[in-house]
Amino acid sequence: MRLTSGFARALAIGVAAALVVLALDSVISAVMAQNPFGGPRPGAEPQIGGIVGWLLSKQSEFYREMSSTIRAAKSDGSAVWTLLVISFAYGIFHAAGPGHGKAVISSYLVANQETARRGIVLSFASALMQSLAAVLIVGICALLLNATAKTMCGAERLIEIVSYALIAAFGARLVWTKGGGFVRALQAPQPLPALALAAAAPHDHAGHGHDHHHHEHSHSHGHVAHRGHEHGHDDHEHDHAHDHVHDEHCGHSHGPAPIELAGPGGWRRGFGAIFAVGVRPCSGAILVLVFALAQGMFWAGITATFVMGLGTAITVATIAVIAVSAKDLARRLSAGSEGGGALIMRGVEFGAAGLVLLFGVGLLFGYIAAERVTCL
């Protein structure tokens, strides 16, 4: 029973994941064709640079000014302020440009029914973690051990692999739990679902209850009773009646109360996300820190790194809040439609969970190119 249901579930999740990816792909190309960034396409002649080009040129400018400013700060104390302003601006622009960190965090927030407030906290925590990682790497490798650039880049590479593997593992876990919710939502409207999928349901439920502490909170009695049934009975109809009600409730929920957010499981999971993303430092920060150290201005480099992180956090938090609000809006809208609403929301969550997994796997195997580590 356990084996078959596990396999059936893996199969169902795999098929659903493939469908989500295909649907996503076609929707993206359809939407992009007419409406990039939600605004009307400007003219026939594409602007040289555009928003992205402007962002690129700006952050390059700020970044290049950093080395001369650190040099200047050696003799002129006021240059430190300039350095902080540049670092802050660079952080904001750097994060507004490409980067997998905010993509992973936003996807996680959407997948996991998180609040905007929590999105902001996670964004700042991951940026802080990233800054800390950079300072620790340079502090240990360069300052304490006086290691060469080659050794340092080796360490960076190792950390990079660990980070991507963690993102992939984190994504896999999200897909597993969200896949259960999605499969249940799929079955919910059907009175007699396929046997294979039905067999998977009791296991899903246990996993689900475990993962959504706020659901557990409100439904704890039902879940405990239900789990008791799981081993002895094959009473599928009972399962489904229960699941249906459960999903309806999700569709109408008003988001978790603050007290529920503070639950131990919730924050621990959030920490998993920020650790997976934040453990890999930004190559730019490493370069700035090593440069500052060589100039005898390590403290200025550290300050610049944390200010850079602050700028990054602001941008990431903004994107995270947009993602969470968009999903909230979707939930409110879909709550109005009968039955299908829960299915759509579970589908969105499942899709977002799938994105986290895709990022992790893609980064790990080099399908998605992330910022390179500085190994030359």
Binding site: G38, S60, P98, F291
Partner: protein
């Protein structure tokens, strides 16, 4: 499903795809290189290889010199820099030395680099190395591009001596396209190709293209 919701889902997916596309095209430079390149000709007028002199920006130069012990502080001899030069050329191999040559439209391959060394001057490191072609070519048109496809490194051809033809037949004409002088159409960086997520050729928009016509 009503229209508002459909639109919203589209927006959600767009946001996701932006994030994904952004993840795919991680692109802004952290290292700047000012390049001077020489095309080396054999007496019979065929091209045998490319000789590069790449000067790194001061931030990267400092980073590369981290942890390097020298006899005199702040002075780095060619011998002291030899292990670093070795590391450099070994690492560059992974990126095909950022050097892409086409002889009459056909891609040419390079051998392992020779005569490589580093030089430290004015707080900047310059890497010298020669890339011999697998086999000498004598094309009507040779196209040489120097760029990093993922745009982690920004290549600028030197202002004064961007490229030299060493021993080339007198009839050969040299043309240079820089990424920032408006001649390269490739620099048109639109959201569309940024979002395509295809990182493989992103840096080509910032490529330096050199063409030599020898009729």
């Amino acid at each position: 499903m009503n229209i508002a919701m459909r639109r919203l889902l589209g927006l959600l997916l767009l946001a996701g795809s932006w994030a994904l596309g952004a993840g795919a095209a991680q692109a802004h430079p952290h290292v700047w290189i000012t390049a001077t390149s020489e095309l080396i000709y054999a007496p019979d007028g065929s091209i045998t290889g490319v000789r590069h002199a790449w000067t790194f920006d001061d931030m990267f130069s400092t980073y590369a010199l981290q942890g390097l012990e020298t006899k005199t502080k702040g002075v780095y001899s060619r011998e002291e820099l030899a292990p670093l030069a070795q590391t450099n050329v070994e690492s560059l191999k992974e990126f095909a030395f950022f050097t892409f040559a086409k002889a009459d439209g056909k891609k040419e391959k390079f051998q392992e680099p020779v005569d490589y060394f580093l030089e430290y001057k004015d707080a900047a490191l310059t890497l010298h190395f020669t890339l011999p072609l697998k086999a000498p070519v004598k094309p009507k048109e040779l196209a040489l591009e120097v760029f990093d496809p993922s745009y982690f490194i920004d290549f600028q051809l030197d202002d004064k001596t961007p490229i030299k033809l060493v021993g080339a037949p007198a009839s050969c004409q040299l043309k240079i396209q820089r990424p920032n002088d408006g001649t390269a159409t490739a620099q048109k960086l639109s959201e569309q190709n940024f979002l395509s997520g295809d990182n493989s050729n992103y840096g080509a928009m910032f490529a330096n293209k050199i063409t030599v016509d020898c009729p």
